[in-house]
């Protein structure tokens, strides 16, 4: 059993013995893991006293025991209801961190596309995997990405070669099952989009039960010149789960990285997208939609790093907060000294539905260039009384009126997602969210 302790000590013991047990499966993986473990030893785990973590309690993470998910022996229920019809032939499924060949499909993908399980490719010494893994995380001094690396095992590897345009969205489905014990998973993805390639990725985390586990995913994506990657992340982990995720994207000349992150599940979740411009003339979008209630906490700490001239960036982060839920947003926009002609938009809009909900928001600009247009801001609003009255005067009951307004608030993000079934799924989620909202109102 691994136990995360602030002292790191007992956990490390476990970790190192675990490392030993894996020795020999793949030399490359073992090297990577050991490096990760070494880093974990040297970086303290975050604490409330750290400025960047002050709104978040990681107590559960440090005090409870967790078993490594991949070692669990659980039977997998039917998960086909979670498949996306658009991705019938382009899906990778991981159950409790273990790649499931049985559930995965690749026949809709062009032959040139390389898609596979990281652990398998590592044992074949796959050159691209070896060359690129860990390069785009860009998370120096981050213990959780090192932790992920220390336990690197199964994961998704996707390589879209030069000029290849993939029509079918690739669905990366990470399923967490119920289990008798608390467990932890360290999901990992590496996406390489070569010159002028196009691909759509749906990164999807589902908790099938209400059980406790933690997940520390790392998603890396590299966009070469003129590549276009659309990346939707859906987080609907179990309501007792902890989900601390990193996304690192490198964006080369004329490339476009478009991402939408949906946060719906987990008791505590944190997304850390870090987008790094590698050359001039790029575009990127880091939009988010958060729907939380009960005592959920959602934290987004993003970095948009403008390092060269001519970038257009967009971040609309929308949160709907009900119950005693708590939303944290900290969005850093860096514009480096020689990065001119930057056009950056950042806004965090919060719709607070309850008196006990909480919002902490901090859009943050650090600009060292002068020819730059950056608009940024944050708003916290409630359902407008006049809008409610207007809709109710047309005959809509309270539930219908609220749902319509919440839907309208969320729509701006939802309608940009290009996969139709994901749009539908999110409209459903909004419906379920408002239904629950009404329930909690009635029982309050």
């Amino acid at each position: 059993m691994a136990k995360l302790k602030q002292s790191n000590q007992s956990f490390l013991q476990d970790l190192l013995s675990f490392q030993g047990s894996l020795n020999g499966k793949s030399q490359f993986l073992d090297e990577v893991r050991l490096k990760g473990a070494e880093e974990v030893k040297n970086i303290p785990f975050p604490h409330r006293k750290d400025e960047d973590w002050r709104f978040i309690s990681l107590r559960d993470l440090y005090t409870d025991d967790y078993e490594l998910a991949t070692r669990l022996d659980v039977s997998v229920p039917d998960i086909s209801e979670h498949y996306l019809p658009e991705s019938e032939g382009s899906r990778m499924v991981f159950v409790n961190g273990v790649y499931s060949e049985e559930h995965s499909q690749a026949e809709a993908l062009p032959d040139e596309v390389e898609i596979g399980n990281i652990a398998d490719l590592a044992s074949e010494d796959h050159p691209l995997l070896k060359e690129h893994l860990g390069k785009y995380g860009n998370f120096e001094d981050d213990v959780f990405s090192s932790f992920n690396t220390a336990f690197l095992d199964d994961g998704a590897f996707i390589h879209v070669p030069k000029g290849v345009k993939v029509d079918a969205p690739i669905h990366l489905l990470f399923v967490q099952t119920e289990a008798d014990v608390n467990y932890f998973a360290t999901s990992r993805c590496l996406v390489l989009a070569d010159e002028s390639s196009e691909v759509t990725i749906v990164e999807d985390y589902i908790g099938l039960g209400d059980n406790k586990y933690f997940n520390l995913p790392v998603f890396e994506v590299n966009l070469e010149e003129e590549a276009y990657v659309k990346h939707t992340k859906i987080q609907r982990e179990s309501k007792e789960a902890i989900h601390l995720a990193r996304t690192g994207a490198f964006v080369a000349k004329h490339a476009n990285y478009e991402s939408y992150t949906i946060t719906r599940g987990a008791k505590l979740s944190r997304n850390e997208p870090r987008i790094s411009q590698r050359d001039e003339e790029v575009e990127f979008t880091v939009d988010g939609l958060v729907l939380i209630d009960g005592d959920q906490v959602s934290d987004t700490h993003s970095v948009m790093d403008h390092r060269f001239s001519h970038a257009e960036s967009h971040q609309l982060h929308k949160c709907v907060i009900n119950g005693k839920a708590h939303s944290v947003f900290n969005g850093k926009i860096f514009v480096r000294k020689d990065a001119q002609k930057i056009d950056s938009f950042q806004e965090n809009r919060n719709l607070l539905l309850s008196r006990k909900g909480l919002v902490n928001t901090k859009p943050q600009l650090e600009i060292f260039a002068d020819d730059v247009v950056c608009t940024h801001g944050a708003t916290i609003g409630q359902l407008e009384e006049e809008e409610m009255f207007y809709l109710k005067s047309r005959g809509l009951n309270d539930q219908q009126a609220r749902e319509l307004l919440i839907y309208a608030f969320a729509l701006e993000t939802i309608e940009n997602i290009s996969v139709e079934s994901v749009q539908k799924l999110l409209v459903d989620e909004v419906h379920k969210f408002t239904e629950r909202q009404l329930d909690s109102q009635l029982t309050a």
Partner: protein, 260 residues
């Protein structure tokens, strides 16, 4: 149809802010009424209170609809009974299309009234036919409710909603203001068509302009939170010529009378 009896209303958050000070009004079935009065006299407040706005508190009096008090009903329950308010300032709801709102509204009201709900195809036919009442294009249905509409379009949309929802009694709050003459004729024509269907209509306005196109059965004047005078359409003409000044004495007399 509607009886407003000695209605006293203050602002919910500030009870010292008394807005309506004893309004009496009776609207019969199929009748067209006009309520006139200068800005700030309480016309919009009366309209909103009838529709059930929660920012106001009724401190005295009653509102009866078809013989029953509606004071305890929520705005949606009043709509289910057949009340409608065309807003002076229609609210923009970006992201919700006219069609979505109206189908939900129509079917909710139909269900509450024990009538058959319409499926999407039936509703499509119905709503397209109703577009004619205010001479609107079908594209309009897929636009977000009032979002980015001109003032005139918003007013027309209110009448369109009324045409679709088919209320028994409608308060139209300043539906005529902000309309150019062509739009005014279209809106007036729409209101006349609906009124012909045995519906009661209360037009709130401070111009008599729209009354050239819609003949009211009764005209009321509000001043300082009270109906100070009622008459037929000639009253509107007199107001047009002489303004409200000749009535202000009437208002202060009755206010004083009340204090005594």
């Amino acid at each position: 149809m509607l009886e407003v009896k000695d209605l006293h209303v203050c602002v919910e958050e500030d009870p010292s802010e008394k807005i309506l000070k004893g309004v009496n009004l009776t609207i019969g079935k199929g009748e067209i009424h006009a309520i006139m009065g200068p800005n700030g006299s309480g016309k919009s407040t009366l309209s909103k209170v009838v529709a059930g706005h929660e920012a106001y508190e009724v401190t005295q009096g009653d509102i009866l609809f078809e013989g029953e008090s509606i004071l305890d009903l929520d705005p949606d329950e009043r709509a289910h009974k057949g009340l409608f308010l065309a807003f002076q300032y229609p609210v923009e709801v970006p992201g919700v299309t006219n069609k979505t709102l109206l189908r939900q509204a129509y079917n909710t009201i139909a269900k509450e009234q024990g009538r058959e709900e319409l499926d999407p195809i039936e509703f499509e036919d119905y709503i397209n036919e109703r577009l004619n009442v205010v001479d609107m294009k079908p594209e309009f249905l897929d636009r977000s409710v009032n979002a980015g509409f001109s003032g005139g379009e918003k007013k027309r949309n209110e009448i369109f909603q009324m045409a679709v929802l088919n209320p028994k009694l409608s308060f139209l709050d300043e539906t005529d203001s902000g309309l150019d003459i062509d739009a005014l004729k279209i809106v007036a024509n729409g209101i006349n068509q609906i009124a012909d269907e045995e519906k009661s209509v209360v037009m709130v306005t401070h111009y008599q302009r729209i009354l050239d196109y819609i003949q009211p059965d009764h005209v009321h004047v509000m001043l300082d939170g009270k109906v100070v005078k009622s008459g037929d359409k000639d009253l509107a003409l007199k107001l047009e010529e002489q303004g409200y000044d000749w009535l202000t004495d009437l208002a202060s007399v009755s206010v004083n009378g009340e204090q005594n």
